[in-house]
Symmetry: D2
Subunit: 147 residues, 4 copies
């Protein structure tokens, strides 16, 4: 049972904006990088075409609090923690920490809620219970890690 994953990214030039800092929308891309790495660490790809029926994980809520800016070539660790789990949904907390000076400083905190869906005949998405193969491997992180 897993409840945590960490990945490190280096802020790229194309991710900065004219204010000289990482554009705020890119924190949401970094969250997704951690989410997909979490799934790979469990032996899955987030693109689950080999499940019957194929399932997807659209986002229903996304959020970020920004404490300090990230700059070009900053090394940033994104820590994913599972903060909630229902039959059909998962919520994640993300902590962004700079690994260069000052080391370990939390620069942003985000969250995502995703729902397990399948596509109906008319093309529309419908929430379904997540497969046991996935659910059995994921648990909510201890409270003290989520504060």
């Amino acid at each position: 049972m897993a409840c945590e994953f960490k990945v490190t990214r280096c802020v790229e030039f194309a991710e900065t904006d004219m204010a000289g800092i990482m554009h705020y929308a890119n924190f949401f891309r970094f969250m997704e990088t951690a989410e997909h790495g979490f799934f790979r660490s469990l032996g899955f790809s987030i693109v689950m075409e080999n499940f019957t029926p194929p399932i997807g994980w659209p986002r229903v809520h996304a959020e970020c609090d920004y404490f300090k800016p990230l700059r070009f070539e900053d090394e940033v660790e994104i820590q994913l923690l599972v903060s909630n789990k229902t039959a059909k949904s998962l919520s994640y907390l993300f902590r962004f920490r700079k690994l260069n000076t000052p080391p370990g400083e939390e620069v942003a905190r985000g969250s995502l809620t995703v729902v397990c869906v399948t596509r109906q005949v008319d093309g529309r998405m419908k929430a379904v219970n997540m497969p046991a193969a996935i659910s059995d491997k994921i648990e909510v992180a201890p409270k003290e890690l989520l504060q």
Copy 2:
């Protein structure tokens, strides 16, 4: 005194992902498009280098709830509403509505809180009161529009 702004965008191919829908991080780019258009509608650019001292508007909080996906070539109206105002900060509510079928459907709702800052001698940002020239032109939207 202004409290609202609307802008229309067409979802571009590069804004979609392999799920066939607009990537969720791009909703935050669309919010910013509306925010900057709002400032232009007041006679300002969001890049305020000609204020003394120059000021900027970093984000401290960003959030989005997703109800329905947006797809390639969807016409979407982004409505900005000023939801809160303090001496140093502004908060916005954003409603995303599809203009093609079904017309007017709200597909997502977002919010942003930005802080007026100036850059100190050491390069760090410091929250300051927003200039009167700006503050005098912005008011919070009526409660009934914000629900």
Copy 3:
């Protein structure tokens, strides 16, 4: 028969980088915006799922020469010109012109070559003749416009 299309874009904040100018990769997004608008002007979407078999237009070559930078809130006109046409491919020339000061200055010139493909049973793409319905509407621009 059409050989030209123009679209105007305003450079957005998220499209700039820390050098204070539009990031160079975004010129390729702007080219595509013009290409897809060109197809809409002919009555088509570039996403051609209702053709039998469905066809797509992957890029085989893309290129851009940069003369002057584009900056935040610059109004830029992207002019698409059809520069070559074969049974299976189309080539476009793109001129980028600033519409604010100095008006009409060409700031970049790009080109794209795209191939009409269909997806084979094994998922791989195969070049095919473009449908007559499309081919009949597109012609190469006069030489003097392409210089």
Copy 4:
């Protein structure tokens, strides 16, 4: 003297488009990732504010040939080779190779030409000789590697 650099990237979900493949403009972001890594391998950041005067490296030409698509979670190696060097400019060749199946396949080839500039008093960029500290560390790759 260095003439080569390699970096590996995993194609992220946000880098794909609705065609299910990496969006073609993102190859230009990957080239830049390799270019900036090359500079770091020489002991420099591409953002050279501590040179007197500060210098920058705007692109004057960018180009890419696409042979095969890249897909989500593909591991891709980007090989940078210095293909030309003048007093004021550098040209790079980039080979994109998939590291997953089939291993080593070249899926795209790109090139970039960048110019060393400084910013004049009026804000405009002017081409200048690159500093010897940089020039002394870079050489053109052997011909056989560039074919």
